[in-house]
């Protein structure tokens, strides 16, 4: 059948404006955080010297002790917050509306009257979001590079590239979870809000697991647990197991979404 990727292509077209706006936003945020470092440097160094980083070290591990360095600062401010959490929420929010909005808006009837299988709809909606992920990912990387050069700081660009490379399985896992919710829940707002709740729930569990030693295993249920930008950014290290786990998550979740959507009744009210 030669109608493959039409839905994916349409999804890309539908999101091109969102892609541009988010890319500009993220490039701006990245530039801002990088550019802020020189003025924070001394304050942070003083704080470190007086042991001010103690409270953070439980949470962010060895990365906290590194807060006064450029890499440490970027990790904490940009990657831990704006990348793992905020970008995760943004992408998941968008993904969770993919099929739910077709069901809620009743356009699913027309879409499914075409010779496209339900599995195809799910997978193509997923594929349609990949350019958004890649463009956001690498435009942010370029912004970090550019700003780093502009302010004259030192950063291993190889490690930076590696960090954004390992971001891909993480972000794909995030949108696959969003897509799953979009086939489970028929209202797009509900699906998106449910995603945020689920994501924050996972993040909180991971946070608890870091603070309370007995609860270490709690962290395993969170996808954020399998993505550590600090290791790749600072040392150029990548945990292969984490990559495999994230890849398995996104493949399994997507497969489950396809199978579930295939089986379910599409009711319109």
């Amino acid at each position: 059948m030669n109608n493959w990727f039409r839905i994916a292509f349409q999804t890309m077209k539908d999101y091109y404006r969102t892609t541009i706006i988010l890319a500009i936003f993220y490039m701006g945020m990245a530039a801002m955080y990088c550019g802020m470092f020189p003025s924070f440097k001394e304050v942070l160094e003083d704080m470190m010297a007086s042991g001010g980083a103690e409270p953070f070290s439980q949470f962010f591990g060895p990365a906290a002790a590194d807060m006064a360095t450029y890499v440490g600062f970027l990790n904490l401010e940009l990657y831990q917050i704006f990348w793992i959490v905020i970008l995760g929420i943004l992408l998941g929010f968008i993904a969770a509306s993919q099929i739910s909005k077709d069901i809620e808006g009743k356009t699913i009837d027309l879409l499914m009257s075409n010779p496209v299988s339900r599995k195809q709809i799910v997978i193509e909606k997923f594929i349609g979001l990949i350019p958004l992920v890649l463009i956001l990912n690498f435009s942010t990387m370029l912004s970090v590079m550019g700003t780093t050069i502009a302010i004259g700081e030192k950063l291993n660009f190889g490690n930076l590239f590696l960090t954004h490379l390992v971001s891909i399985p993480y972000l794909l896992a995030v949108i696959s979870i969003g897509i799953l919710l979009s086939v489970l829940i028929d209202e797009k707002m509900k699906a998106s809000i449910f995603f945020i709740a689920l994501f924050m729930g996972m993040y909180v569990l991971e946070s608890i697991s870091k603070i309370i030693p007995d609860f270490e295993s709690l962290g395993y249920v969170s996808i954020t647990h399998y993505f550590n930008p600090y290791d790749s950014l600072k040392f150029g290290e990548v945990n292969a197991v984490n990559i495999i786990i994230l890849t398995v998550i996104f493949l399994e979740v997507l497969l489950f979404a396809m199978l579930y959507f295939e089986k379910r009744d599409i009711k319109i009210s």
């Binding site: 059948m1 030669n2 109608n3 039409r6 839905i7 349409q10 539908d14 808006g105 009743k106 356009t107 699913i108 009837d109 027309l110 879409l111 499914m112 009257s113 075409n114 010779p115 496209v116 299988s117 089986k263 009744d265 599409i266 009711k267 319109i268």
Partner: protein, 289 residues
């Protein structure tokens, strides 16, 4: 081979009955009307046929292929107009048609012809379309790839009478080309004009399956009449009822006979109304259930 064949097709939403035990077949080149009041199960029937809802029991075959197994193959040759038509508002009409043409991996053979009958502003975003324009676009997308079977859920809603007529003409032309059509409706006159056969559905069950001509014979007028004389002195048909001094009966044969009969009385008030579909249900099918 029948284009549509259903056997005891049943769909329950939990405990709520959508349709039950619907067995019917539609031949090639036929326009089949699926009639029933709102909430009777027409949309459930259509959405089950298209595979959007999984049957609780029974089965259905389009072009001899099982709807649950060969959906993809079936849909190559199908057009569909949903009852609650919603289109992608953010696309322009032309973009939408282009998108759907590409999804069908087939040329839009009839696009030109359809656009001359149902002109829509292709450059404008669908968001800005009126209800009628959207319906026209819905018709265009259903027919543009020249499918063998078109399934329509109340396709004329939102069309003005002139466009309705154009639409009927178009359907009859497609029928001549050997295309098959299945349409749901609650408007008897519409079914009268274009359908060869009708199935009447009530509370999810098929209560009648007839040729349109047979059904037409059952058509009639409701006559309500108030006389100066005693109502019982008027000898009406068997179905005559007297209520609050009004005489009411259904004239299934020609009304001329009754008018002449009435003229012998002094008429205070008289109402003659079209026998609605609902009346047909009540009058002819109530007892058969």
């Amino acid at each position: 081979m029948d284009i549509i064949e259903t056997k005891n097709l049943t769909k329950y939403y939990g405990k709520i009955r959508g349709i039950e035990d619907i067995t019917l077949s539609v031949k090639k080149g036929e326009i089949f009307g699926f009639l029933g009041p709102n909430g009777a199960g027409k949309t459930t029937m259509i959405r089950t046929l298209l595979g959007f809802l999984k049957p609780t029991r029974g089965g259905a075959y389009l072009f001899g292929l099982n709807i649950n197994e060969d959906g993809l193959e079936i849909k190559q040759d199908i057009g569909y107009i949903p009852g609650d038509l919603n289109l992608y508002g953010h696309l322009a009409g032309g973009q939408f048609l282009q998108y759907f043409t590409s999804l069908r991996s087939s040329d839009a053979y009839l696009l030109e012809e359809l656009l001359t009958i149902f002109d829509v502003p292709l450059d404008r975003k669908i968001k800005g379309y009126s209800k009628g324009m959207k319906q026209k676009l819905g018709i265009i997308q259903a027919f543009m790839h020249d499918p063998e079977l078109v399934i329509m859920d109340e396709p004329t809603s939102g069309l003005d009478p002139l466009l309705q007529q154009k639409f009927y003409d178009f359907l009859l032309k497609e029928k001549k080309k050997g295309k098959t059509m299945f349409l749901s409706s609650h408007i008897l006159s519409e079914v009268d004009k274009i359908c060869d056969r009708v199935g009447i559905v009530r509370d999810g069950r098929l209560v009648a399956l007839e040729n349109i001509d047979t059904l037409k014979d059952k058509k009639g007028k409701i006559i309500r009449l108030k006389l100066k004389e005693k109502p019982s002195s008027f000898k009406g048909p068997k179905n005559m009822k007297i209520r609050d001094g009004w005489i009411q009966f259904i004239a299934t044969d020609n009304i001329d006979h009754w008018i002449k009969k009435m003229s012998k009385f002094t008429i205070i008030d008289l109402e003659i109304s079209e026998f609605s579909l609902e009346d047909i249900f009540i009058h002819y099918y109530e007892g058969k259930r």
